[in-house]
């Protein structure tokens, strides 16, 4: 898995903050405390399926 896609971020609609994920490890790395996305981390768009 390429490094760029290994770490991604998703916006949690409940908190309004981004969550950083390690897709290869299946691990939640951190929850952003401030507004806006993490710099340099791919944002994953929401899917319903």
């Amino acid at each position: 898995m390429a490094e760029k896609q290994r770490i991604v971020q998703v916006k949690n609609p409940k908190s309004g903050h981004y969550v950083k994920i390690d897709r290869k490890e299946g691990k939640i790395l951190s929850h952003k405390k401030s507004d806006g996305p993490y710099k340099g981390v791919t944002i994953v768009r929401k899917s319903s399926k």
Binding site: K14, K27, K46, S47
Partner: protein, 213 residues
């Protein structure tokens, strides 16, 4: 593990979940005040339009311990709506906030619908609420439901990106399925369950979450 609130033992039996449902927390017994009836009726109509079942403590007659019944209902739903007005019996209010606490602990979405002058206890300051108003209520409550369904999409997205950890993935899918009742989510979960190996207890808990007999 999920624990019973009466004996602290973990649940080891099939849980009857209610996907696409909402648990109503309000005064159930006694003479129901008119303003409360109006809010409940409006809420039920909006939920009906979205094919979401409204359940309350009287929805199932089991003849068993009332607190266990409430706990099982709380566990079975994706969300809960608490309705508090100045006119409801004061003895009902602690029960309502206790149930909100249970729901929050179990990771369920909750919202408080309150009349204008009702003061929410300070511990619930972070709990979302809507002040009932004839003109704007439908719009506000629909907005809340939109956000709950938006959260289900977040859960699916998280599940899709955490596949290296099947239990974590299934937990996100479980919550999305409980909100939407979407058959595609269930199929995805079934697929993971058929590929991975789980112990008997874990498999039972997972199968009940997705209503897989």
């Amino acid at each position: 593990m999920i624990y019973y609130n009466t004996n602290n033992d973990p649940v080891t039996q099939w849980i009857n979940y209610n996907p696409r449902s909402c648990f109503l927390m309000t005064q159930l017994g006694g003479i129901r005040p008119l303003d409360l009836t109006e809010i409940i009726d409006r809420t039920k109509r909006i939920l009906d339009d979205r094919e979401i079942k409204l359940l309350d403590g009287n929805s199932e007659i089991t003849g068993k311990d009332f607190l266990i019944k409430i706990w099982k209902l709380v566990m079975s739903v994706p969300m809960g709506v608490a309705i508090v007005t100045k006119t409801i019996k004061s003895s009902a209010i602690p029960n309502i906030f206790y149930e909100i606490g249970m729901m929050n602990t179990l990771g369920k979405d909750t919202i408080v619908i309150k009349c204008k002058h009702f003061k929410i206890p300070s511990d619930f300051i972070r709990t979302e609420y809507i002040e009932f108003d004839n003109e704007t209520y439908d719009h506000k409550f629909n907005n809340y439901l939109d956000r709950v369904f938006d959260y289900s999409k977040y859960c699916v997205t998280m599940a899709n990106n955490l596949t290296a950890k099947p239990i974590l993935t299934l937990d996100y899918l479980r919550r999305a399925y409980l909100i939407t009742g979407d058959a595609d989510i269930k199929t995805k979960a079934e697929d993971i369950m058929s590929r991975e190996s789980f112990d008997e207890h874990t498999l039972l808990m997972l199968k009940s979450a997705f209503e897989i007999k």
